[in-house]
């Protein structure tokens, strides 16, 4: 099937296992893997999306017009550990806004546009060559600051992955690259084997793993040879103590798709399965891509952030297929312009490989950290899916499923939107590798069904969660309104009582007065009587007012801290009064110095705007009323 020469050597001392299912699609790694990794001229403009990976958004730290140098931070890590992004080259920030994302949806997201000055001048670099004398935390923070993310699949921030893993026994460097066409890791291993090995050693130092296994599929004999040599050289350089500390080994695994899947590769190398809903770390394993190991090495030894990656450019619509170093943020269009891209009438441009990649709706999409391949096949080379036929329950999909699921059962359930059934059949464990759809004789786009069902289930969960919160908020509000009503009633009652008391006091005094008769001492009494009553009245009024104010304030803020707010409010009022006074004084001063009598202060403007808005609204309402009447 493949014209690639297979590696024949045997690794006697490591037992290999296998995973169920799997397929052997035509590999077609050549011709893209034949020549050294190329480098194209810089693009004029770069689009750097703020989110290139799973995780929270990072915060922009530059503004339009800023000149940045290569490697400068463009964004700071977000609150929830979003990875920072860096300037891929030197130039000027010309826009911060929404740009098309490198995402199957074709949607837009926040990003930064940078115009290259074609100088490519480096900014300040901070290498950490003596990382062994640093704390783990320092190294992790360094990797986070360098924007290192997994270059293999989902682009998970590396520092977080390493930090979250404890009790690691085995570190696996994934060089399987099982998907057809893709040759980025293949070329990287051939040309930068030593750096990959050094990166692996850094990972070993951080995790204290007792073995490093570099797994490569046997259809990449040159890469295997290069890595073997690098491993042998590194081993010589290591001290005897280090040598006995851990095992460092290249493991050759049989070619079978999807052996490069994290969970599948773990099963091949250890025979163990990562528990469902668990992480590889749960069974003492940490896996990183070869590209990630390379990036770690560059970040530590040279202080280079993750600014570029190897991208495979292949497919028969590309005249000169190759692999290339592409700065992150380079538009796909720029890359394709350098490889004799001659599109056909209905061209598919696929980001990723033929099994799991997604198609682009246009080419103004930037290359990001996870872009390992741009595949532009002709219709003859990879014919589009045929007409979907009814499932004949042949079970071919179940035979090839690497997760031992029942794809056809999932298909029926997804069609019936039976989400409970899908959960019971472990849809969540589907890795969307596409093996089932590859073999399906009815050409059913099974993966698409699963993805939609997964998305629908996720939406339902989110909606349910939101509804739950809304319900709680609604109930809390109802309770608050109820409580406030009661408090109001109580205050009214108190005020009424105060009034009654005052009345009673007056009456009493009147009685006293009438009882004491019209004596001289009566004068002060008569004087004090209206004073007392006035005080009582004022008190009552004040209580009422306060009640009303409390009511209003609590309606606004929805808190119980009525008492605490009063002094604050007074302070605010005082501040406002002060500000007003100052403003008036200023205005007066201005009037004095300037002869300009128009003096439309912002306040006036605002007032005018409000008046206008009210008038508008009234007019609109009137019109509506009219409409309804007629």
């Amino acid at each position: 099937m493949s014209q690639v020469q297979k590696y024949n050597g045997q690794d006697a001392d490591i037992q290999l296992w296998t995973f169920p299912g799997g397929i052997h699609p035509p590999e077609r790694k050549a011709p893209a893997n034949q020549e050294p990794i190329r480098r194209f001229p810089l693009a004029d403009e770069f689009i750097i999306p703020l989110r290139q990976h799973i995780g929270a958004l990072s915060e922009v730290q530059v503004s339009v017009g800023d000149h940045v140098r290569k490697g400068d931070l463009l964004s700071a890590p977000g609150i929830e550990h979003g990875l920072p992004v860096h300037a891929p080259t030197s130039g000027e920030i010309i826009e911060i806004g929404e740009f098309p994302l490198n995402h199957p949806s074709g949607l837009s997201g926040p990003g930064i546009r940078l115009r290259s000055d074609h100088e490519d001048t480096w900014g300040q670099r901070h290498p950490l060559p003596d990382y062994r004398n640093q704390s783990h935390l320092t190294v992790l923070e360094h990797l986070q600051r360098m924007g290192i993310a997994g270059l293999g699949g989902a682009g998970f921030p590396t520092a977080r992955k390493v930090a979250g893993a404890r009790g690691i026994d085995c570190l696996i460097i994934n060089g399987a690259e099982c998907e057809p066409y893709i040759a980025a890791d293949d070329r990287l291993m051939r040309e930068h084997a030593a750096e990959i090995v050094r990166g692996s050693l850094i990972l070993q130092w951080m995790t204290h793993a007792s073995s490093i296994l570099i797994a490569i599929e046997d259809n990449k004999p040159e890469a295997i040879a290069a890595m073997r040599e690098a491993v042998a050289q590194t081993r010589e350089q290591l001290s005897a103590e280090q040598q006995s500390d851990f095992v460092l080994k290249v493991v050759v695994i049989p070619t079978k798709y999807p052996s490069g899947g994290e969970r599948q590769l773990i099963q091949i190398l250890t025979g163990k399965q990562v528990p469902a809903h668990g992480l590889p770390a749960d069974i003492g394993i940490l896996m990183h891509n070869t590209g990630t190991a390379w990036a770690i090495c560059r970040a530590i030894e040279h202080g280079e952030p993750l600014l570029e990656r190897v991208v495979t450019l292949t497919g028969e619509s590309i005249g000169s297929p190759c692999t290339a170093w592409v700065p992150l943020g380079t538009p796909v269009q720029h890359v394709l312009a350098h490889v004799d891209f001659t599109p056909e009438a209905q061209q598919r441009v696929i980001i990723g490989g033929p099994m799991m990649g997604f198609t682009l709706p246009h080419l103004q999409v930037p290359v990001i950290k996870t872009t390992n391949c741009i595949l532009a096949p002709t219709r003859k080379e990879l014919p589009p899916a045929g007409q979907e036929m009814p499932c004949i329950r042949c079970g071919a999909c179940a035979d090839v499923c690497p997760a031992s699921l029942l794809p056809q059962q999932l298909y029926w359930l997804a069609n019936a939107q039976d989400y409970d059934g899908l959960k019971a059949h472990h849809l969540a464990d589907c890795i969307e590798c596409g093996a089932c759809a590859y073999v399906c004789p009815s050409e059913i786009p099974l993966v698409q069904y699963y993805r939609q069902a997964k998305a629908e289930m996720r939406e339902q969960a989110i909606e349910h969660h939101k509804a739950e919160i809304a319900r709680q908020r609604f109930e809390a509000r109802q309770a608050r309104l109820e409580r406030e009503k009661e408090e109001r009633l109580e205050r009214h009652a108190q005020a009424a009582k105060a009034r009654e008391e005052a009345l009673a006091a007056r009456k009493q005094q009147a009685e006293q007065r009438s009882a004491s008769g019209t004596t001289d001492d009566a004068m002060p009494d008569a004087n004090s009587d209206p004073v007392a009553s006035a005080v009582a009245r004022a008190k009552a009024r004040k209580a009422e007012r306060e009640a009303a104010r409390n009511e209003e304030s609590s309606a606004v803020t929805g808190t119980d801290t009525v008492q605490a707010q009063d002094p604050k409010k007074a302070a605010v009022a005082a501040a406002v009064a002060r500000a007003k006074a100052r403003k008036e004084a200023q205005a007066a001063a201005q009037k004095d110095t300037e002869t300009n009598t128009e003096a439309s202060t912002p306040e006036d403007k605002k007032k005018a705007a409000v008046a206008a808005a009210v008038a508008r609204a009234k007019a609109r309402k009137a019109a509506k009323q009219k409409d309804e009447d007629s």
Partner: protein, 358 residues
């Protein structure tokens, strides 16, 4: 130009249902040729008749169900069903037998249950069972193979027999079956080897006495063994082409052989031996072409083994103790009934869920 949006995977093995069905039809050719050689033109005529009826019925059903008829017809599933039914019935059965059987298979068993992929029962075998219990006389009127009969009705005589029940010379089917058997078996209606053994054993004869009959030239009945070998060859071709996996034929034949062997060990004179069970009747056809029908079979690997072993066991039980000489159709239908249960209990454990099970 424009860009084309598609969902992954963008690569496909490109062997669709129609391709698989065409391969199945191709694999049937040696068996059909053997049947044609030993039993004459009848089988070819039956296949032709069955396929035309099946295609017409399929088209009408699809139209009635508001489905696109052209794509439904192009998947060849109806053709395979019709061909399987046609080669299962006696080659010179009257024309209306195959027409009724095919209509029942396509309309009732297949489309009333929801069309391709939704039928619980193997349509061909359900049709066969309907015919067998409705028209027992027509359905057991097998011709003697050419090795005994020496002369089979020619093409036009076969057509006349099928359509009108008489040859050009005015012989009926019954007369042909009697006349040609020669003096030795003059009084005996020519039966299939399995039928013959059943009758003989029921009358108290031993197996060796029964096998002394003229139809038992060779291993498992003259003619029949070659037909079975031809279907075996076709089946091996399907295996090689990976159209079917070894699990169903392997488990079916294995189970049947084991039980036949046990029977032969414990009652060598009363129960037929392995060779007869494997190479007579419709055993090979069942193992490679009928039980492997994906729609009505179990899906998981373990499920397939259980399903096929069940068929093998049922074939043996019905052949030995049942009222019918051959048992493939009944065994397959009974196993079809068990498929949902088998599938339920042979679900593979999904990745990462092993601990939940244990």
């Amino acid at each position: 130009m424009s860009f084309f949006i598609a969902s992954s995977p963008h690569h496909h093995m490109r062997r669709n249902t129609a391709d698989l069905m065409r391969l199945v039809l191709l694999a049937m050719v040696p068996g059909v040729l053997a049947q044609w050689y030993f039993f004459g033109w009848g089988v070819i005529l039956q296949i032709a008749l069955a396929i035309s009826v099946a295609l017409a019925a399929e088209a009408l059903c699809l139209l009635a169900r508001n489905r696109e008829a052209s794509s439904g017809l192009r998947d060849y599933t109806a053709v395979v069903t019709a061909a399987l039914l046609a080669i299962s019935i006696p080659p010179l059965a009257p024309w209306w037998v195959i027409v009724i059987g095919t209509l029942f298979s396509i309309v009732i068993v297949k489309h009333l249950f929801g069309g391709v992929g939704h039928n619980i029962f193997n349509p061909a075998m359900a049709g066969y069972v309907l015919l067998l219990i409705s028209f027992p006389a027509q359905m057991t009127s097998w011709l003697p193979p050419v090795t005994i009969a020496h002369e089979l009705p020619g093409f036009w005589d076969s057509v006349r027999l099928l359509l009108f029940g008489f040859t050009g010379d005015g012989y009926s089917l019954e007369q042909i079956r009697h006349v040609d058997t020669g003096a030795m078996l003059d009084a005996v209606v020519m039966a299939t080897p399995l039928d013959h053994i059943k009758t003989e054993l029921a009358q108290g004869f031993t197996l060796s006495e029964a096998k002394g009959a003229v139809i038992f030239q060779g291993v498992a009945g003259s003619g029949w063994q070659w037909v079975n070998l031809a279907y075996l060859a076709g089946g091996l071709y399907l295996l090689k082409q990976r159209v079917i996996s070894w699990h169903i034929p392997g488990a079916l034949l294995g189970t049947l052989a084991v039980f036949a062997l046990l029977g032969a060990v414990f009652a060598p004179d009363q129960l037929p031996n392995v060779d007869i069970h494997l190479f007579s009747g419709a055993t090979m056809l069942a193992a490679f072409f009928i039980a492997t029908d994906p729609v009505s079979a179990a899906t998981s690997t373990r499920g397939k083994l259980i399903y096929a072993a069940l068929i093998g066991l049922l074939i043996y039980v019905i052949r030995t103790w049942g009222g019918y000489p051959d048992a493939v159709a009944f065994a397959v239908l009974l196993a079809n009934l068990c498929v949902p249960v088998i599938d339920q209990y042979t679900k593979p454990t999904a990745y990462g869920h092993h601990e939940e099970r244990s």
